[in-house]
Every structure is written in C-alpha cells, then in structure tokens.
C-alpha cells in the first residue's frame, strides 16, 4: 500500500514550505530514515526523511515549488506498485488519476518501453520528448488525468537540461560554483554571466524591515557550502595573541605621506599586517601549506587572500608574492582589489591561488574572533581592532596601542606548537616592524 509523503508543519506559524530539491530520483529504493527531500521554511532548510523503507513512487511537486503544509508532495510504496485507488493530487488541482495510465513506477528502466505505451501524453508532447530523448515517465503531466502536454515536456527540459552560456559556465567552473542550483535570468532559465559573478555594489540601501525571503543560491550558496565544508572537515584550533601595535602606529604615521606621494593611496594597518604575515610565513613554511588529496603541499609562493565584505556576502581576492613586494606596492594593490571586489569587478583569477588568508574586522568594535579557514589554506589570521590600553611594560603601567590576532589552523596538517611559534614570530615582527626591513 502506497503511503503519502506530506509537506510537514514544522512550526505553529508555518503555512507552506518550498521543496529545495529531491534527494532521490523517482523509482529509487530508500531506507527508513533516509533523507528524500530538502524543504525550506521561512526559518530553516530541513531534510524530510522516509518514514518507511520502500520506493519513491511519484513526486507530485518539482523542486522549487512552494506547497501548503499537509499537502501531498510524494508517494512511497513497494517496487512496481501502482497508485490505484489513491486520490493522487496533481499539481494543478485535486483530481483522481487514472492510475494504469501514468503513475505506475517500474522498478527497473528495462521495462520502460512497455510502460511508456501506457503514459497519457499528447502527440506533440511525445514528439518533443522523442526529439530530446526525454523519458516521459519522469515527466509530470498537467493535463486532464495526468495527461502530459507539450508544455510539461518543455518545462521538464528547462529544469533538467540546465542551460548556461559558455562564459557563465567558465566563470562558474573557475569558482567551483554548482550552476545547476542557480535559477538563470536568461530565456527559459538560462544561466547568464551575471548569475554567476558577484552582484555589483548597490550601496545606500536601507535594510529591509519586513521578512524578506531570498532564494538560497548563487554566491550565498557558494559561501555556505565552503564554510560548511571547512568547518565540518577541518578540525579548527584558534590561538590568540595580543600584540603591541604602538610601533606599527608610528611606522604608519611616518609612511603615510611617503606612500601617498608614490601611489596616491593611504597605507592602512592592513597592509602592514599582510606584509608582516608574509614575512613570518617565509620563516615558517610549515604554515604556508594545503592538503590536496593524499599530499600536503608546501607552497613556494606566498599568496595572501584578503577577505572583503561585499553587499551580499564575502569574497577573498588574492595578493600574490606578498613577501616580494614593498609596502607601497602592497598598499596600491590591496586598495585596487578591495575596490574591485566591492564593485563586483573581480575576475575569477583574482580569487584563485591563495596560500594563507587574513580576515580583518579591525574597523569594527571587535577584539578577537575565531575565523573559519578558507580551504584549501591550512590557516587563517583574524585581525581585531587596535585599541589603547593600559599595559605593564618593565613593571610599569603604560598606555599602548593593543590588538588581538586570532590564528585558526587546520589541525589535520598543522600542530599546535608550530602554529604557536608562527603567531609568536608574527607578534615579534609587528611589535618590531623594523625587522621587516631586514
């Protein structure tokens, strides 16, 4: 006996949910407790689990559809079972479906030819399906008694054969973005360039007050996937160290007019910290590593990723060979890529190849935090604000400009002692910035 799978009511205020994706294809055997679909409510994304072991006989709604709670979204049952006698709900309304005709799911595709004869479909739908090699058993009919019309085959094709421009595909591939999840803005959902690159800055917007619902996709999805992958695969350990930035403050004061004259840009602490980090990484090559398959790669280049906040997310453009560049050059370059990032003008190559990442929240009232490693890097440096504090120097209470650095590292490939040694060396470099000149 087939059982109904309904849109669950996950909270007192939940009235509908959106099917994010079907996790198993129709006809697949699932065990009790296996996730079969992802459902998004206004609060969370949650997986629906199979309540019984059996076959997913039919899905009533496609991914992306929003369905009222308690409405049937799928049927589970035995292999080859027909849905006779059940009032099968079709997406266009509730009609009893003549079962022999269309929803019987054959366990094996071998029998599909025989079953194909029983599918209710118009000649136009059959012709289009043949031309595009669509198995009509996978198409949900919107017509009377589940009859498949041409438009049903068309929408099936639109959903399944993801259409993407060559340029968009290249960008998506370069960024490791799963473009199949993206709803394209082109004709019939075609994914265009603007769907895969960072959206341009649209500053000056006031935050929405009402409950805005935004599709979870594009850059947001990419960030989410990467953060989750890093947090759940790399065991993070974070070390903290308080740095006396007093010397850096005066160094910056001295360098400000000099660099401004050369590059037309004002040096910030960020560049000094990047420079000091690259300097220290050179002395501690065991921190400039990444885990690639069965190998730990020790990078010869020191390429520092710089986390930049953009309107709807975060990007990490890369400064290359930082150890070989002076502060003037670094200042110019970091200002340039920061601006490009905020304007959405970064090329995919600008975000590739970092060996270490710095995330600077010093412009906020943040003292320290635990950054998540930007895989495949093995470590990330979190930078807090610089604040004048009373500290003890030579048994005397003095006022110093203090800053906390937090170093998160991947404990699979870096141990605590070398990480601590690195952070200590970095502290030394920042507290004695003249060493950077050596």
């Amino acid at each position: 006996m087939a059982t109904e799978v309904v849109m669950p009511k996950l909270g007192a205020t939940m009235e509908e949910g959106t099917i994010v994706s079907w996790l198993v294809p129709v006809g697949e055997v699932v065990e009790e407790g296996d996730p079969i679909a992802e459902i998004q409510t206004d609060k969370i994304v949650i997986e629906i689990e199979a309540e019984t072991t059996g076959v997913l006989l039919k899905t009533v709604h496609d991914a992306g559809n929003t369905v009222k709670v308690h409405e049937v979204i799928a049927y589970m049952g035995e292999e080859g079972e027909s849905l006779d006698g059940l009032a099968v709900t079709s997406p266009t309304g509730s009609e009893s479906v003549d079962q022999q005709q269309e929803t019987t799911v054959e366990a094996a595709p071998v029998t599909s030819a025989q079953a194909g004869d029983k599918i209710r479909r118009t000649p136009a739908a059959r012709k289009l399906a043949e031309e595009n090699r669509v198995n009509l058993q996978e198409v949900v009919g919107s017509g009377s008694k589940g009859r498949i019309h041409k438009v049903d085959v068309e929408s099936f094709l639109a959903q399944n054969a993801k259409r993407i421009t060559p340029l968009a595909k290249k960008i998506a591939d370069d960024q490791g973005m799963d473009y199949k999840q993206i709803d394209g803005t082109g004709v019939r959902g075609k994914v265009m360039k603007q769907d895969v690159i960072i959206p341009p800055t649209d500053s000056g917007q006031t935050p929405e007050v009402e409950n805005k619902r935004v599709p979870f996709r594009g850059m947001r999805k990419v960030i989410a996937d990467r953060m989750a992958e890093s947090a759940y695969t790399a065991p993070h350990v974070t070390l903290y160290s308080e740095i006396d930035m007093t010397n850096c403050v005066s160094l910056r004061q001295d360098l400000l007019p000099v660099i401004e004259k050369i590059e037309g840009q004002r040096i910030s602490f960020n560049e000094i910290i990047i420079k000091a980090t690259a300097f220290t990484l050179k002395q501690h090559p065991n921190m400039n590593v990444s885990l690639e398959g069965n190998e730990i790669v020790f990078h010869s280049d020191i390429n520092v990723g710089m986390a930049v906040a953009v309107p709807d997310g975060l990007v990490v453009p890369v400064l290359r060979n930082v150890d070989q560049k002076g502060l003037a050059e670094l200042t110019a370059e970091s200002k340039k890529i920061g601006k490009q990032a905020r304007e959405g003008k970064l090329a995919p190559d600008d975000m590739q190849g970092s060996t270490f990442t710095i995330s600077n929240l010093g412009m906020y009232a943040i003292d320290g935090f635990t950054p998540i490693i930007n895989l495949p890097n093995a470590a990330i440096l979190g930078v807090g604000r610089i604040q004048k504090k009373p500290v003890v120097v030579n048994d005397e209470m003095v006022i110093r400009s203090m800053m906390t650095l937090s170093l998160s590292f991947d404990h699979r490939i870096i141990d605590g002692a070398p990480a601590a040694a690195f952070l200590t060396a970095l502290k030394d470099a920042l507290e004695n910035p003249l060493t950077l000149m050596i």
């Binding site: 118009t122 000649p123 919107s142 009859r147 041409k150």
Partner: protein, 329 residues
C-alpha cells in the same frame, strides 16, 4: 476592387446569378415561386422583370420533377440554377442528384457533363421547425461527383456562386437562412472564388477553429471574447466542403496544436467528423497538443420552440466554453 458596396448575403447571390445570366445566355434559374413572387426568401426579386419568364422559370411543387428537369437541361448544354425552396426538400430530389447528376460524367467517360447548381437554403434559427431547418450537407459531401459549397458571408457568396455556375459539375450551394440579411462589402465587379480554397477569417496562435456556414460568424464572435482572456483563436472557413482545402487547415493546426471543429449539423456523422478525421490522419498529428474537439448540433429534430431551437445547435457561448476547455486541457 475599387467599387465596393455593402450588400446583403442575399443580394450578393442575386447579383452573382444576374451577372452570370447577362454574361452567358445558357444560364437560367428555376424553382418554386421564384418569378413574380421572388422566391420564399425574396432572393430572386426583380429577376423575372430583367430576364423574363423563359430564363426565370416558375416550377410546379415537385422536387423530383424539377430536379430531373434541371439535370436533363444541364446534360443537354444549359447551365441551370435550381432553387430548392428549403434544403430539407432535396430529399425528394435525391435520386436525380445522387444517382444521375453525380454519376453521368463518370459513366459516360467524360462525354457529358452536368453543370447544374442546386441552391439550398438551410440551417435553423428562423423558427421553421424540424422539416425546414436541417443541415444535411454531409449527405451530399458523401457522394463522389458532387461539389458542396457553404458560404458564410456576402463576399464569399458572390464569388463562390460565380465559380459554382462556371463549374462543369453539379454543385450543391448551401445558403444559410439566418445569413441572408447579414451585410458585407461586395465588389461590383466580376470575381470568382475558386472552389476548394479555404479562408483564414481571423489569425490566432492558440486554437484553430474550423467552422462552416453561420458557425464561422459565431466563431469570430467567440474569438473576440476569448481574445480578452488571452486566448488567440484562428478561425478557418473551408468555404467548400468538397473539394476541401486540407492544406490551409493543417497549416493552421500545425501552428496552434489545438483544434475545434464547429458545425451546425447534428454532430453525429456530420461533416466536421470528416475534418477531424482528416487532421488526425495527417502528418500534423504529431503537433496536436490536445484531443481534437467537435462542437455540433444535438441529435434531435430541430425544435419549434425558439429557446430549444437555439439550444439544439452551437451558439457563441458554447464555442467560448469549448475553447476554454481546450486551453485548460
């Protein structure tokens, strides 16, 4: 076509016959009370004054006799136009039409021909009850050797009548009584609409309606209503059932993928069934995206009660409803 006037359907047919009679002295008309009285519908008013009783011949009330006379005259070189007062009465003339007129050219190896036009006022809606309101054109279309014409407006009526008179085969010319007083632009000059050439009365992309006779007009009205709902209907008027312009119909169905055939005759066994079958058998089958639908008359004698009379045959609202169903699948 500079000299356009507005004529009624009835006047257009009269003008067409008169022009042909002026052009060709072999053309003459015959029928019951068509002389001084002008025929049951006044269609031949004034013709006896112009052409005289030799060429505008009043006949006895015997369709068997007068149809035999017309067929015989045609075989001996004349080009008679026979008015059957109500198309229903053609039953009495069936032997002369089906067994004689339709067969002669074939059986004599082309050595004779039967250039007769039989005018048949048909259709319901005028309160003439069951024996005077039928649409039996499918019976004629069934017989090889007969051509069947069903004009839906004044312009077509004039041009098709010309072609019918000039055709060397027997032509059954069905006129719809409710159309007689409908007006349309008709050129004063001579023009012929070839038999076997359908007309696209309105272009549309969602549904093809193939309608005949007065149903063309109702389909056009329905199309106006449906257009406001975003349903674009293409209306095809075959104009002649035999020969049938299948190409125009199939091209339209290929474009729209949905088809509704509308005819006034009883749906069962009506000519719309032939059109529907023709579509289903054709290559265009592959383009159909919904079952072919027919809308025809109910299987009932036409009632005398005006309300029931209307209910017995397709009306504008029926066409609208049927099209909505086709779009909603």
């Amino acid at each position: 076509m500079n000299d356009m006037r507005e004529l009624t359907y009835l006047e257009a047919i009269r003008e067409s016959m008169s022009e042909e009679m002026r052009r060709d002295e072999d053309v003459f008309i015959m029928g019951e009370d068509i002389g001084v009285y002008g025929g049951a519908f006044g269609l031949t008013n004034g013709m006896i004054e112009e052409f005289g009783p030799e060429r505008v011949r009043n006949t006895p009330i015997s369709e068997a006799a007068i149809s035999g006379c017309a067929v015989g005259a045609a075989m001996t070189g004349m080009r008679p136009i026979l008015e059957i007062q109500f198309s229903d009465f053609v039953m009495i003339a069936m032997d002369n039409i089906v067994n004689q007129a339709a067969k002669m050219r074939y059986m004599f190896g082309g050595k004779t021909s039967v250039p007769v036009v039989v005018r048949l006022p048909g259709g319901s809606g005028a309160g003439f009850a069951a024996q005077h309101s039928q649409s039996l054109e499918a019976w004629m279309a069934h017989v090889p050797g007969l051509k069947v014409v069903q004009p839906s407006n004044a312009y077509d009526a004039k041009g098709l009548m010309k072609a019918a008179i000039r055709d060397n085969n027997p032509v059954l010319f069905y006129e719809h009584k409710l159309l007689y007083n409908t007006k349309g632009e008709v050129p004063a000059e001579d023009y012929e609409i070839p038999l076997g050439q359908a007309d696209i009365k309105r272009e549309g992309s969602h549904i093809t309606i193939v309608a005949t006779a007065i149903m063309v007009n109702r389909a056009l009205e329905a199309a106006e209503i449906l257009a406001k709902e975003g349903i674009e209907v293409e209306v095809i008027d075959p104009r002649t059932l035999v020969p049938l312009d299948t190409e125009t119909i199939l091209n339209s169905v290929k474009k729209t993928s949905r088809v509704l055939v509308v005819y006034e005759a009883v749906k069962r066994g009506g000519y719309g069934a032939e059109i529907a079958s023709m579509i289903a058998e054709s290559d265009v089958f592959d383009y159909l995206d919904a079952p072919i639908r027919r809308l025809g008359g109910l299987a009932t004698p036409i009632p005398y009660n005006p309300t029931l009379e209307k209910a017995a045959v397709p009306q504008v609202d029926d066409i609208v409803v049927e099209c909505r169903k086709l779009m909603n699948k």
